[in-house]
Symmetry: C2
Subunit: 664 residues, 2 copies
């Protein structure tokens, strides 16, 4: 028709939706499958089903009330405590060590959370094979193992990484996507949403997380695709129903009571503690990571996993709050004490508060130390769940103290808004608020964190307290350093990531940052041959070369990247062209050359150029908003210098930490 733009787009649109649907469903299936597997393996640590060994405890005891004792499930510690203890530790070590071995041997990229790297990739930096098939398979298997081992880690970050692997592999069925970097990034953003969607059972939280934390570009198309992908993933997970609860969310709570004004004081206290803990965690964990990278420790990753796992299992088994799997613990901590139901390990008993508060606090402390040790080991490990659990443990403890205070001194002025003979303080809500505070302190998420908490618990009336607490915890945390844990890791690993959303105010000009033309290698538009270009590629390692009309005039003609030049040369070699075949910008008209390597086919003829006096903060805007990797400085068409993303990052680092020596 008269409008090629629209006709061309139809294929894209349809294929885009198909790909996103497939990615979402696959992410949901993988998440559901790994949930089932890790639950089964996790239960094996504590006992077995004597009717069918392949059943986990839930299915083994299916149909029985919580109060009844389940005859078919035989805990290892039914004989003596020691047997149970030894079996628990043994299985945990087996799972963890296997996981570490598999990661180290087959897919080193499967370790850690994956969120910092995916963020960097979405920012335009290429980490080859990071989202490959090996990573996908190994990370899925080892995530199951490391979760089942009972280590202090979460599955959320790894599931995002796994989902992004799927989002990287599946679209390659369509050859179009393979070549289109922008489209691939769009699919990756959508896959990230799906990952969080299935990790938490929070589809909307997933979309907003991807938007807030992960994505460099977020067009309305991307948002729309992410929405669909997160939805498809959630539907697939719900249909699989791995926990047989018919609910997407494990922690759903319904509070019968609303919060009171005076409780805001305690909530904000939790916010402050969350921020302090987050800052402490980030500092300790990054220090450990730096030590791990540089010391002898780096040669023994599997032994390190073994050691941390041994510690976790030995200490963890002794306290009920550290022994159970995290989602179950979290659900019980969030729950309201309502008559008989929900009294999990005496959390709702009236007496013995001091002892149980001590148990909660010590569990929180132990979990805290273990999490610092665990996050960064050579196994898949997320940080969301452990930080929530730690916050919930402390929060519940505080809530129980406040409740005890209020019941013992109901006449105290602080509690004047409490009605007599009606429960006033809900310790479960303190656990929920504490979880948000701790996660906020560690990750510095804002909007997406509130949405995720909201989707996890459905506690509508608690949206305002959670917002206030998340804000408090972020403010306190930011006072000790602006980076959340993921940005901290990006900095530590030195990934070239330019934060899309931070605003810079600089007084420098482009000419102060650019590599001047004297120090860069340029290609001339005439006078080159196949061999001379090949030599250039062998002698220099630059990622690309500006093309100028001549070395005397230095008028800018274009920019040719190393990859494109390599490709052009290889093509020419395939056609068996002689080494002295001329190469240049335009085919010479006068000479009747039989063969010619024409730059124009491979060269970026219209690179982004700025004046050498262009303000640096505007250059940064160009880099991050336009997603380019280089900008050329010119004056009246003459090349003056080159600015790469690395130059910009180095410049920013030198401004923010003027004392430090640069290391490239």
């Amino acid at each position: 028709g008269s409008n090629p733009y629209h006709d061309d787009a139809v294929d894209w649109v349809v294929e885009g939706w198909v790909v996103v649907l497939a990615v979402g469903i696959a992410a949901g299936i993988v998440a559901g499958g790994s949930d089932i597997a890790s639950q089964w393996l996790g239960d094996i640590k504590e006992g077995y089903c004597d009717t069918a060994f392949y059943l986990n405890r839930n299915f083994c005891c299916w149909g029985l009330d919580e109060a009844d004792t389940c005859q078919n499930w035989i805990p290892w510690n039914s004989a003596t405590f020691v047997v149970g203890y030894v079996f628990y530790i043994m299985f945990a070590l087996m799972f963890a060590t296997t996981a570490a071995y598999l990661v180290k041997t087959y897919a080193p990229y499967a370790e850690g959370s994956g969120i910092p790297e995916v963020k960097t990739i979405l920012g335009g930096f290429v980490i080859r094979h990071y989202l490959g098939l090996e990573t996908l398979v190994i990370k899925t298997v080892t995530l199951v193992l490391s979760t089942a081992a009972g280590l202090s880690l979460g599955k959320e970050g790894p599931l995002l990484h796994i989902s992004c692997c799927i989002g990287n592999i599946l679209p390659r069925v369509f050859p179009k996507f393979k070549k289109n970097e922008a489209k691939m990034r769009e699919i990756l953003s959508a896959a990230a949403s799906a990952g969080i969607s299935v990790a938490f059972g929070a589809p909307i939280g997933g979309v907003v997380f991807s938007l807030e934390e992960m994505s460099y570009y977020f067009s309305s198309d991307t948002m729309w695709h992410s929405f669909f992908c997160a939805m498809a993933a959630a539907v697939a997970l719900k249909l699989m129903d791995p926990f047989r609860t018919e609910k997407l969310v494990v922690f759903q709570v319904s509070y019968n009571r609303d919060w009171h004004g005076f409780e805001m004081i305690f909530y904000m206290l939790l916010g402050i503690l969350g921020g302090l803990w987050g800052a402490f965690f980030i500092r300790m964990n990054l220090r450990l990571a730096a030590f791990r990278k540089t010391s002898w420790l780096r040669f023994f990753p599997i032994y390190e996993v073994f050691g941390v796992c041994l510690l976790t299992a030995m200490v963890g088994y002794l306290n009920i709050f550290t022994r159970v799997q995290s989602p179950e613990l979290l659900a019980n901590l969030f729950r309201e004490c309502d008559g008989g139901a929900g009294n999990y390990h005496g959390l709702c008993d009236e007496g013995g508060v001091a002892l149980r508060v001590f148990a909660l606090l010590s569990a929180g402390g132990v979990k805290g130390i273990l999490t610092i040790l665990t996050f960064g080991l050579a196994i898949p490990a997320g940080i969301f769940m452990p930080s929530m659990v730690i916050g919930a443990l402390f929060g519940r403890a505080l809530g129980m103290l406040v409740l005890a205070w209020q019941t013992n001194h109901p006449g105290f002025w602080l509690f004047s808004s409490c009605l007599p003979d009606v429960p006033c303080v809900t310790p479960g809500s303190y656990a929920m608020v504490g979880a948000a505070a701790s996660m906020g302190g560690v990750t510095r998420m804002t909007v997406s964190l509130v949405i995720i908490m909201f989707e996890l618990t459905g506690a509508l009336t608690y949206v305002l307290p959670i917002m206030i607490v998340v804000m408090t915890s972020k403010w306190v945390g930011d006072a000790f350093g602006k980076e959340g844990i993921f940005d901290g890791i990006i900095l530590l690993c030195g990934y070239p990531f330019l934060d899309d959303r931070e605003e810079y105010k600089l007084n420098t000009m482009a000419s102060q940052v650019m590599t001047p033309v004297e120090d860069i290698v340029v290609v001339t538009a005439t006078g080159n041959t196949l061999d001379s270009l090949d030599n250039l590629l062998h002698e220099t390692q630059y990622k690309g070369y500006p093309v100028v009309n001549s070395l005397r005039d230095m008028m800018l003609v274009g920019y040719i990247s190393r990859t494109e030049l390599r490709y052009a040369i290889d093509e020419a070699r395939k056609r068996n062209l002689p080494g002295n075949t001329p190469a240049g910008n335009v085919v010479p008209i006068l000479e009747n050359t039989p063969a010619f390597i024409e730059f124009r086919l491979w060269m970026d003829q219209t690179p982004i150029t700025v004046s050498h006096r262009f303000p640096m903060d505007q250059v940064i805007v160009i880099f991050r908003k336009l997603g380019v990797r280089y900008v050329l400085c010119t004056q009246h068409g003459q090349l003056l210098g080159l600015i790469t993303k690395k130059d910009v990052l180095r410049h920013l680092a030198s401004i923010e930490h003027p004392g430090e020596q640069e290391s490239s």
Copy 2:
């Protein structure tokens, strides 16, 4: 210190937070106050309190159960139906006509929703006085009047506009903000969040709405400020507690039952209907708006309001579902039938389904027609609430039909998943889903709509159905035209708005779109005088002029905007410089000129330039991502042409509608 960048920032940071806090609190107070006022005026239409005329029905009957009859509240129709009918119509006409008169006389900008205009302003286009003090005052007063008149309109859009007026006026206390356009836009984005936050009682929905629908730039700072502003506004509103419910949200529902798989069919049917209705509404409403603009109707805006209000009141009084105020109706439609409670006007009765379905459907139809007529009148009028009400009416009707079907034929295969003797179908959930579908069809919101529905109702288990329905309705609606109602109005009014998030794929180059240098007026860097420049400004009306070294060489030196040039000239006139004072780029060194007007102080010395062969889709990216208003085309430093935002919009229009004649 060694780092001026950080020192400079502290003031900004503190002032930024203070301003955002003040804007949020002010927005919450205004919203709470207008709620109280419009509720009181709205009740006056139906009766009065004989103990104290200034009490609305709720407070007049305070402390009584719903079942009791309130002795103190005297409805006008207690004598005869006719008296009540006449009083109702009379009051409605009085309120609506007063509102229209005030708008037309004192602040024409107060009319309509305001969302399209705020969106355009956030996109970088200046509409003077649109966010001024008159608009603020008049819109607040007339919003109360037009809501109380019972017209088919919502307060959500207008509250956003009012909130943005506050966000525009308050920061000017700090002189810094006045000058910094970017900061002002950041505050406006935050104010928009606060507006939606208080309009719906949905703080998170407000932030995501601002992010998804309104904002051109959304840095992490902006998100963070928006989060805080929306929170402050919600807290202020909650403390005011205008409805004395101690709840932020009016419609909070809690469903005891989950949805069943088969219901998804009916939900999706609602999604399709919502999309169709949305497309129909947009087409009809825009057609009416175009007619209103061009026909005789434009001379009688107050009579038009009078007419529509007369129609609304006369028809509306006859059906209980159109007579009550929208929030109350919505809350009742959403409610689950649970024993005796929640049986609002027989919605939960078992018999007489046909009659009540007819009442609901006819109310929906009437509301639909009235909404098409009302949205666009010369009074403040939002579209969110009416579209939700219409969807809820239809949804509830469908839900009641499905319930009747299921109770009469429980053995039908479709209902096999229903348990015997347990209520299976929840008509209230159909109302909720219908409301989302209709609002989605009209506005084409996605993520923010789901979050708002979620925050309105707290129905955690319905997130997936709502997502699927919103998606269906958007797909169906998009098939008839991609623009939602707000974008439609932007197009109709011809605001220069470049959608930040749509992706364009063009095959054109910059040279095809630019105004060539022959057709533009340039200023030379030398040879001008004060008088010659003044003449230039009088003779031409361009918004700015490229500066070149000479007319022969045409080497680009910079760009000077009309405003800056005007300012420079006025400054020179103030200093009483003679008309022949030379003006130019650089002070001439050789001559010892006593006075000189130096361009450099006023000129953009480093305008964004692109090669004339630069691809047009990249130019568009530059326009929207860098927020510039012009781009200069050069070759080897020589000026070839100028591209403005209007050129880009005209070019896009010519591609999307190749047949149409351009009208600039």
